[in-house]
């Protein structure tokens, strides 16, 4: 046993020495990295670690944090029914809008890729605009207004499908589908842009080689040539759409109200904002954030292993 330990230690020491030597040779690299690394540690790594630490405490900002172990997590999962509604809604939104938005982003980027340049740039603008339009999505609150002045109600009544206006954003039955619609509308974001840029960079000679080798139609070309060339962008798009799908809160809060009827449109992040910035139970809020974070990492791992199989 002792021998093994000693061997292990010497091996580790040797490895550390090699790493140190390598690092010494690459001094320039660390100089280049330093400004970013320092700021990143200060404003991203440390706060994340701190919030994981706070999740094991009772912390209300005024008093110093008091350690209470797993209490926050236990009450979250066993006692907080609203949190479970939030988890259900978030998962539902993520499972539907995440993959759909991702596929839409790639499909449209790929379709407009072969258009002439000026048409393409207009198309990119049209598709990308909703995601950078600030809080333009509140216009959907006007379209789906609950009285007869709302466009959707007015139209449905004119066609005689319904005779009394539907309270779209108050009735729990319709809230989530409408929110999903809005989220899908906004989902052609940074991932889409990355796809457009990436598709332009695919080497043309590969397509010509593909014709020679008997690529029959556009779908084969997509699977065997375009997608494998796009792997880095596909990964990026995946991370973006996961982040987007799990962090939904603005849309549901501004469209359905905060809190919404029967908490029917509550998401995990909305729950977090409720506890973090309204009830000042920071420890509890941090526990919510940590759970969300774990869910996102697991999801990301699963998708990355899926994407590795593309084009094979």
């Amino acid at each position: 046993m002792k021998e093994y330990l000693q061997k292990y230690i010497t091996l580790r020491k040797h490895e550390a020495k090699v790493a140190y030597k390598k690092a010494k040779n690459r001094k320039m690299c660390y100089l280049f990295l330093a400004p970013y690394a320092i700021l990143f540690t200060m404003f991203y790594v440390f706060p994340v670690l701190a919030s994981i630490y706070f999740s094991f405490t009772y912390y209300n900002v005024l008093e110093a944090p008091r350690f209470i172990g797993l209490q926050n997590y236990i009450s979250l999962i066993l006692q907080d029914d609203i949190f479970l509604i939030g988890v259900k809604n978030t998962l539902l939104i993520a499972v539907i809008t995440g993959p759909l938005g991702y596929i839409m982003s790639f499909l449209f980027a790929w379709l407009i890729n072969e258009l002439p340049r000026w048409v393409r740039s207009i198309a990119v603008m049209v598709f990308y605009a909703p995601s950078i339009a600030g809080n333009c999505f509140v216009i959907f609150a006007v379209l789906f207004r609950g009285d007869a002045y709302g466009h959707v109600n007015a139209l449905l009544m004119k066609w005689g499908i319904i005779d009394t206006p539907i309270l779209w954003l108050v009735n729990p039955q319709y809230m989530l589908p409408i929110c999903m619609l809005v989220i899908l509308w906004m989902s052609l974001g940074s991932g889409f842009l990355s796809f457009v840029a990436g598709l332009q960079g695919v080497d043309r000679s590969q397509f010509e080689a593909g014709y020679m080798d008997g690529v029959k139609n556009r779908w084969q070309e997509l699977w065997f040539i375009t997608l494998p060339n796009m792997k880095p962008m596909l990964m990026f798009g995946a991370v973006m759409s996961i982040t987007q799908a799990f962090n939904v809160a603005d849309v549901t809060m501004q469209l359905c109200g905060f809190p919404s009827t029967d908490y029917a449109a509550r998401t995990i992040v909305a729950h977090l904002i409720d506890y973090g910035s309204q009830r000042y139970e920071m420890g509890y809020a941090c526990a919510i954030a940590t759970i969300l974070f774990l869910m996102m990492i697991l999801c990301n791992k699963a998708i990355q292993s899926l994407l590795r199989r593309v084009g094979t």
């Binding site: 790493a19 690092a23 690459r26 690299c29 280049f32 990295l33 400004p35 970013y36 690394a37 700021l39 990143f40 200060m42 404003f43 991203y44 790594v45 440390f46 706060p47 994340v48 701190a50 919030s51 706070f54 449209f108 072969e114 340049r117 198309a123 603008m125 990308y128 605009a129 909703p130 950078i132 339009a133 600030g134 809080n135 333009c136 999505f137 509140v138 216009i139 466009h151 007015a154 509308w185 842009l193 990355s194 840029a197 960079g201 080497d203 139609n217 556009r218 084969q220 880095p232 990026f236 991370v239 962090n247 977090l272 973090g276 920071m282 809020a285 941090c286 954030a289 996102m296 990301n300």
Partner: protein, 305 residues
Amino acid sequence: MSRENTKKKLKKEEKEQVYRKKLIKKRKPNRSIWGDFFLYLFLILVALIMAFPIIYAVSSALKPLDELFKFPPTILPKHPTLDNFSDLFVTMGKSWVTFSRYLFNTAFITFVGTFGHLIIASMAAFVLAKYEFPGNQTFFKLVTVAMMFTGYVTQIPNYIILNKLGWIDSYWAIIIPAFASPMGLFLMKQFMEGLPTSLIEAAKIDGANEWKVFSGIVMPNVKPAWMTLIIFSVQALWNNRASTFIYSEEKKTLVFALQQIQSGGIARTGQGAAVLVVVMIVPILIFVFSQSQILETMASSGLKD
């Protein structure tokens, strides 16, 4: 007579054939016409649906007040006016912090934040993408993980740090954290990995040091990525309401002031619609102008390994 006619016909046919050849050459050989037709029809339909809410937002900002509350509701204004916008300026003029001050705040934060972010993030991305050194992979993994963490909870530890540094209630509270945004680094690194390593090696053989390789060879070749990074950064900073870290009214951003007006209830419906347009028009305009540059640089930067 008839001979001339036939000659003309022949010439016409020749012309047409050349024209057809061009068309055929442009199309990729493995595409079916019906597939093209349906896919593009689908594309046009979706584009119309996507554009509708934005068009509607603009049109309701141009509606006079009586048309905003008309029944049945209309989509396009009958008598378009700019009254809502001029009302908005009147309201902005009444507040004790002037409009130009809000504009300066936003412009300063956006410009400095984006510029610093571009330089710092691409320096880090360059070494992460093109060199191997201990800690390389780990650091990059950390960055990707950090990209997913919601900004809401890190706000509290962030506030504590900024407070210790004495940056609360100053522009730096927004600008400095924006320098380290993980998004930009991730994007830049992914694009730089596509650069052929031989390019860098060639420069090194010619005697360039790391800084020269970075500023003279890598950066000019990843201009499209610059633009993308600038767009993201500007968009995030423009929409940053800065309400948690900055509490003096004279240091708040334009978007914050505008959305304050928007939440003024039913009497401000017209102005609210105008705010919506003002807030969204700036990122969209920036995008329109930089997009043409992206496509241009993409076309001229034909790198072949």
